[in-house]
Symmetry: C2
Subunit: 538 residues, 2 copies
């Protein structure tokens, strides 16, 4: 069996290596248009920021290993330009022709740069390959770079902002939407934004690039931002031209079935160039992530060797470091659910990274989305420690079609330095079931403005700081002060992070008040949202 693989990134390289392990006699050829295969793309921002010092470590694997360990024919600087499906051959830019029994298209994606007026290519960079990273490093080394603009605030944009800011470059993020990190919602993104601003990074939201002058970005709003260097990180485009020209079925990405076969029975595709099905919503999507690309490459190798492995769709599990913070997410966010008209319930909780009485515990903010039947639609979390751990567990429950009840039943490793006997995962399950069962009515930031606010914390705490307009009825007095609670309007109770107000709302609800809500996340959450607004106004 002769297999030809176009592209030596995560999908192509893992497919090639697995093919060899499956079949010592297979003929395997990899065509790679750049001069490197299997590099650590996800580490590039840290390589630029000198967190990772050596270029050598950026090679996950190298050509020699593929040749000598795996006996794979790797051709670098070899760009495939056309596929002849009838004769099962591929032509390259340098006029070589390769025949195949099975073809794997793993061409990945490339950064998207709109044709902006005045764009100076010498000062404008994208980041996808090691040579991109070296270009940025060299430019910074060879020029006086004190001001950077990062356009687009997804994973790469945010990681680049951190890695430009840390060595002392004044950095501005420009983002078209209302918040950074479009995979999460505004409340969670706001916490990340506060951190970036605290570190001195300027964030311009709801504004886009209109044009460039030599050392200024001109924004749609008319404002300008000075720069010495620009990083364009708006997004990536799947590389589908080759497939399209060969007449394969394509949509936004190459169309594949569950075995990752294209519309041609001899051709597979994997990685960032493939349109996948979003596990949570069932909709078609482009979700360019390294884990899924690796998994897909392996599945294709097994299928070429006679198995029938299926790809079980992409959940979009992701994590990003934002200075001391970790932001992790899985599944759909509220924005996306709204867009798809999928009904949902939501909740916010704060929970300690580990037992509160053990030193170093830090609060983590969670936003969970779920259906009234208990299906989990998405989780977003931000905090300092143990953030992605909880998202991983919830992603696993989702993957196995578990429900919020399974979060409650999750039995996680417990000791005080690591978590609490009731882990955040359990609390998310309890909270969701209480909401579904009608045991608690949750209020959200958008509800505070027009509601009657009751701070249920002790008086001394209330006197020190509360939400404007709130009255104080400590939980310990609430059973005797029910007559002070209005019945004719929405009442929102709050405390520090949401547990006391939940208990208080139970007392009041059971005493016949239908209109009393608990503000999940409490005053800590409220303040995390306020800070950013305040600093924006100042």
């Amino acid at each position: 069996m002769k297999t030809l693989i176009i592209g030596g990134g995560a999908a192509g390289a893992s497919c090639a290596a697995r093919l060899r392990r499956n079949d010592e006699k297979a003929e395997i050829t990899v065509l790679e248009q750049s001069d490197e295969i299997s590099i650590a793309n996800c580490g590039l921002p840290y390589y630029i920021g000198n967190v990772i010092n050596s270029e050598e470590t950026m090679h996950v694997s190298d050509v020699n290993k593929f040749r000598n360990w795996f006996n794979i024919n790797v051709l670098l600087n070899t760009k495939a330009v056309s596929i002849d499906r009838n004769n099962r051959t591929v032509k390259t830019a340098d006029n070589q022709e390769f025949s195949y029994d099975r073809l794997v298209i793993a061409t990945g994606a490339t950064p998207f740069v709109p044709p902006f007026e005045g764009l100076n290519k010498d000062k404008t960079f994208t980041l996808r390959t090691l040579s991109d990273a070296n270009s940025i490093k060299n430019y910074i080394k060879e020029h006086e770079v004190s001001k950077a603009v990062v356009v687009g605030a997804g994973f790469i944009g945010v990681e680049m902002a951190e890695n430009l800011c840390e060595p002392g470059i004044r950095t501005t993020i420009v983002e078209l939407s209302s918040h950074i990190m479009p995979n999460v919602d505004i409340e969670v993104a706001t916490v990340a934004q506060n951190k970036l601003k605290e570190k001195g990074i300027e964030i311009i939201l709801n504004d886009g690039v209109k044009a460039f002058s030599d050392d200024k970005v001109i924004l749609t709003s008319g404002n300008t931002v000075d720069f010495d260097i620009v990083i364009m990180s708006i997004g990536v485009m799947p590389q589908i031209e080759l497939a399209k020209e060969a007449g394969l079925e394509v949509s936004r990405g190459i169309v594949v079935d569950s075995t990752l076969k294209t519309s041609d029975e001899y051709i597979y595709a994997a990685g960032d160039n493939v349109e996948i099905t979003d596990f949570t919503t069932g909709s078609k999507a482009l979700i360019p992530l390294a884990g899924p690309a690796n998994r897909q490459g392996r599945i294709i190798a097994d299928n070429i060797c006679g198995k029938t492995e299926t790809y079980k769709n992409t959940q979009g599990s992701s994590v990003v470091k934002i200075f001391e913070l970790t932001l992790a997410a899985v599944g759909a966010n509220e924005d996306r659910l709204k867009k798809l008209n999928i009904p949902y319930l939501k909740t916010f909780i704060y929970s300690n990274s580990h037992a509160g009485y053990y030193p170093g515990a830090k609060q983590i903010l969670y936003k969970m989305l779920f259906t009234k039947e208990g299906r989990i639609l998405g989780l977003q979390a931000i905090g300092e420690e143990g953030v992605e751990k909880r998202v991983d567990v919830v992603a696993t429950v989702m993957r196995l079609n578990g429900s919020v009840h399974d979060l409650l039943d999750a039995e996680l490793c417990y000791a005080p330095p690591f978590n609490s006997a009731k882990d955040a995962v359990n609390i998310l399950g309890m909270n969701a079931l209480n909401i579904i069962d009608g045991k608690v009515r949750m209020a959200f930031p958008e509800d505070l403005k027009d509601s009657y606010l009751i701070d249920v914390r002790p008086k001394a705490v209330f006197m020190n700081e509360t939400i404007d307009g709130a009255v104080n009825i400590p939980i310990t007095e609430i059973r005797n002060r029910l007559d002070e609670i209005p019945r004719d309007r929405k009442v929102v109770m709050f405390c520090n992070t949401g547990y006391t107000s939940y208990v208080a709302s139970r007392i009041v609800n059971q005493n016949g008040f239908e209109n009393v809500y608990s503000f999940g996340g409490g005053i800590v959450f409220f303040k995390s949202q306020q800070n950013f607004l305040n600093s924006n106004n100042s």
Copy 2:
């Protein structure tokens, strides 16, 4: 509804609080024999070691909160001494009588101390309650304590050893079995033992206490160990006398059905006094853990209020900090599977805590047990960072009846500071499936002695250090040196941690060698096992 709860620990307290949240009108009484409720038992070793400084923080909740928030009648220093099931009343030591509609027995467990000859109670302590902890703290403060003996090396024993050693007390652990931490197997325990010894803690294995003299422990071997203080942490006994005397069905613990009801329809039991079903093996077991106790308390509260919640058995998910190390485990270990005659396959892998090219990555050792059908039976892991995270994910897969294939398909949050694109969880799944599919034959430490050993690493690395008796055939040369590999005996290939030898064994297996095995964990694993043996002999 009048509910009486005997015991104000994790199970009793969580039951009481949930009852109130369920039903504002319920009558709820808690009888607690000590002078404290709902304390942070799991933090006690750290409180003794002054990692946790304040006694106040050790109260997860307090009596006032139970009374004032939850309107619960809590009686401290009130010991229940008998249950009259016909009249549904409970008598206390001080001759009070309490009637109930529903009774919850949450009496927990107490430390087991055999009646050793010569045991000096003034110098011998157990650790279960806050007052136990204060006794130990006071004894250390008021006496010259420079030598401690910890008898029994489970969770409490190991945590106590660390917390005695850190402030400078010379500490010796005495353990009857062949290794510490009986919930894991010897290979994983050995890594923990190395760490304890590195920190100066002496470990005596395969030896027990025979008797005490005033300042010496006399061991079964005849050896003696000097002490100023002894911590007895052999294990705990469920408190079942009350239930037994009332004629309730008891085994090693109180017998309950899946709704946590005892043999009396008006009486429930929860926590460390209950015999549960081991989720993994289906056998009956005592697994005293805080998480399950909390969960059980909540289930009982819901069932008393008319729901039919079931307890879905205990997996034994656990974690312990051992200085810089984290040791975590779930499910059954090899010792237990052997005892229960459950057939199993096993594997060891090493995997980085996060991407190897990102600073600070540390190797984690995993031991996984599974059936040839792919059911996961248990996972043990030890390392510095991200250890319990992977065990939590695997525990969740087990809980939802997933298989090793689901480990492979797990889509976990990935970025270089947090893990690798192929996470350890994925690699465990790949490895297990390769074993099941016959694609790799694994060798274990016990196989090394009588096998022909081939080091497949580069020659320079081999020359520097290898396993005694090994020959060197680098993977890059193996296809040309097949004739050097014997066919008439077991051949074990090894490398640093197991991946290269796996690839090498695939090459050789496919060239017709049936007798070639890969040593999972490689030389790093081998050395981790040797160190302890060497230091024991020295």
